[in-house]
């Protein structure tokens, strides 16, 4: 262990995080100087400028470095970290665009600046999470993201729905982090180190796994369960519909995309760097672990899709659909193959675009009718043809039908599951997708075939219009050129190679 003074540390690996932190503080300072009745749009613009600056610094880092280990190996800037940081930044940027015209209704809530600052703090937590390899750093990043998100849900504190959602979120989240921490305490205690890669090295020594295997296995189960809260899969999924429904729409989108992506970044790093290759009695730990991941995946796919069929509230429907998508994204973690990380990242990018698109259209309908009911979309085709075509693409993509991003995302995961030898997972994926057609097409039926209460043209706010266009373009472009996106993940980021797992296999 070499100790260095703070001047000699390579601070450049933290530039994106530092820029986000400074922007968040600037936002809070600007709020003090703004008069009470002034528009809060400049605050959102300031937040977006901060994210763009951090994005540029990240791209510069990506151009100059190979894998960098810094801060006593607590941070590891590799292709995996870069890839997930980029997804998180794009997500938060789009959230700001969506919130630009008031958080989810025409009149301002008075907490816009706090909203922007907390979103930036949450993004900071996510960025730390993507880069960190030390359990302490990872846990701090996770909690920074979670605690900011609790407040983001309840930011409209005069609204009963929002505060109720926030309370349910914070109580479930507290239990989940305690479960996670209890599992982590066995792992850290047994190995005596907190770095994910070092834990694997220590536990792989001698007969440690033979004697303490059960404790490590308990640690694995508890950590997996705790993280299932962040990625919104079974078993910690009960909060999802209530919180998605109660939260302001921009926060709901944030939870569905940024928070989920960060959770997956943590889960992938944890499972691949620490657990999967531990030797257990001549086998690898993977053989014991993957059935549990597969079980969570199957349960999430089925529960999410079956319960979504009964929903008439659009936010609740997309919440159950979000649980199902978490199940789809878990498949590569259960079916070990060289493309697993790329498949998950591809799915997360596709899911980011189609979720933002769907929520932006729902946002427009809500601002017009004041309701999240399925019927709020009735007659949309006559009132706003572009929005109707856009939501058609987003729903086809969420359902996984061709020429959209969602189809290729599911296709790669399907192929990967067969490659990894998990036919059951592949078949469940297909069956679950077919079930999901039912409720995605129920939305389209309202949009195209039901008469609305009015024929008045529907005007979308500027911010959510931009989000719709970006998401529309993204979903179609990824759908038309999937291979080039996947190639980029494989060759620019080398995300899967960061774990040294595939040498001598396949």
């Amino acid at each position: 262990m070499m100790f260095t003074s703070w001047q000699t540390l390579n601070w450049s690996v933290l530039f994106p995080q530092i820029i986000i932190l400074i922007t968040a503080i600037l936002v809070l300072l600007t709020e003090i100087t703004l008069p009470k009745e002034a528009s809060r749009k400049p605050i959102f613009l300031l937040g977006m400028v901060g994210i763009v600056a951090a994005f540029i610094s990240l791209v510069v880092l990506a151009g100059t470095t190979d894998t960098v280990l810094e801060f006593g190996n607590a941070l590891r800037l590799d292709g995996f970290a870069l890839l997930f940081s980029l997804i998180l930044m794009v997500g938060t940027f789009l959230v700001f665009l969506l919130g630009l015209d008031g958080l989810d209704e025409a009149r301002p809530t008075g907490y816009e600046s706090e909203y922007v600052a907390l979103s930036l703090f949450a993004l900071l937590g996510g960025l730390v999470l993507a880069e960190a390899t030390d359990l302490i750093t990872l846990f701090i990043g996770l909690e920074l993201l979670s605690i900011s998100a609790y407040v983001l849900v309840g930011v409209k504190k005069q609204s009963l729905l929002a505060t109720e959602g926030a309370l349910k979120y914070v109580l479930t989240g507290g239990i989940a982090s305690a479960v996670f921490l209890f599992g982590a305490s066995y792992l850290v205690g047994l190995s005596g180190v907190t770095n994910l890669y070092e834990i694997a090295l220590v536990l792989a020594q001698g007969t440690v796994m033979d004697r303490y295997g059960p404790l490590v296995f308990i640690g694995f189960l508890f950590m997996l369960t705790g993280l299932s809260f962040k990625i919104a899969s079974v078993p910690f999924y009960m909060w999802v519909p209530d919180v998605y429904q109660g939260a302001p729409l921009a926060t709901t989108t944030f939870l569905a995309t940024v928070s989920k992506t960060a959770g997956f970044a943590f889960l992938i790093r944890l499972l691949l760097a620490t657990f999967y290759l531990l030797p257990v009695g001549g086998q690898e730990f993977m053989q014991q672990a993957t059935p549990y991941v597969a079980a969570l995946s199957i349960a999430s796919m089925l529960i999410g899709n079956l319960l979504a069929m009964r929903q008439v509230n659009l936010k609740r429907m997309l919440a159950y659909s979000s649980i199902a998508h978490a199940g789809y994204i878990l498949i590569p973690l259960a079916s070990f193959n060289p493309n697993m990380v790329d498949e998950m990242a591809f799915y997360l990018v596709a899911y980011l675009f189609m979720t933002f698109g769907a929520f932006a259209v729902i946002d427009a309908a809500y601002r017009d009718s004041g309701s999240y009911d399925l019927k709020a979309l009735a007659g949309l085709y006559h009132r706003a043809p572009f929005l109707a075509i856009a939501i058609l693409v987003f729903m086809l993509s969420l359902a996984g039908l061709p020429i959209t991003a969602g189809f290729w995302a599911k296709w790669y995961i399907f192929i990967g599951a067969i490659w990894g030898g998990h036919m059951v997972l592949a078949i469940t994926l297909a069956v679950a997708s077919i079930i999901s057609y039912y409720y995605y097409f129920a939305v389209l039926k309202q949009v195209f075939m039901r008469p609305g209460t009015t024929e008045r043209p529907l005007k979308q706010a500027t911010g959510s219009f931009i989000v719709t266009v970006v998401a529309f373009a993204g979903t179609l472009l990824i759908g038309l050129f999937p291979q080039s996106i996947l190639d980029m993940f494989q060759h620019v980021f080398h995300a899967a190679n960061m774990f040294d797992l595939f040498q001598g296999r396949f």
Binding site: Y150, V208, D242
Partner: protein
């Protein structure tokens, strides 16, 4: 008098965790639920500190490991961070509870059923 061993501490930690989980799942008062969550978080710290005092798997196998002091420090350091995080989490939880109490005038979680209707 026999010395207390690592196993006792781990059992104590596990018991505390289970008691906390039971409380969090069965009690209807939101303040008690937050309290139970705090118990669960602290049970992890008991594990960490016990491992830090007695050493983990590697030390048990070779008791004369020279790295002992440095290695023990890491799990104790983790516990320190956890205490700070747990405090922040409960502070936010209580703040949200106060916000909802102003609207509902009750801390009973069964009364919070406006959603899902």
């Amino acid at each position: 008098m026999s010395e207390i061993a690592l196993t006792q501490y781990l059992l104590f930690g596990a018991m505390l965790f289970v008691i906390g989980l039971y409380g969090a799942l069965t009690r209807r008062n939101a303040v008690i639920i937050l309290l139970s969550i705090e118990l669960m978080l602290m049970s992890a710290n008991i594990n960490l500190l016990a491992f830090g005092r007695y050493g983990g798997a590697v030390q048990m196998q070779n008791p004369d490991a020279t790295l002992a002091h440095y290695v023990f420090a890491q799990s104790q350091m983790f516990a320190l961070f956890n205490i700070a995080v747990a405090a922040a989490e409960v502070a936010v939880g209580l703040a949200i509870l106060i916000a909802i109490y102003r609207l509902k005038e009750t801390a009973n979680v069964d009364a919070y059923d406006t959603l899902r209707r």
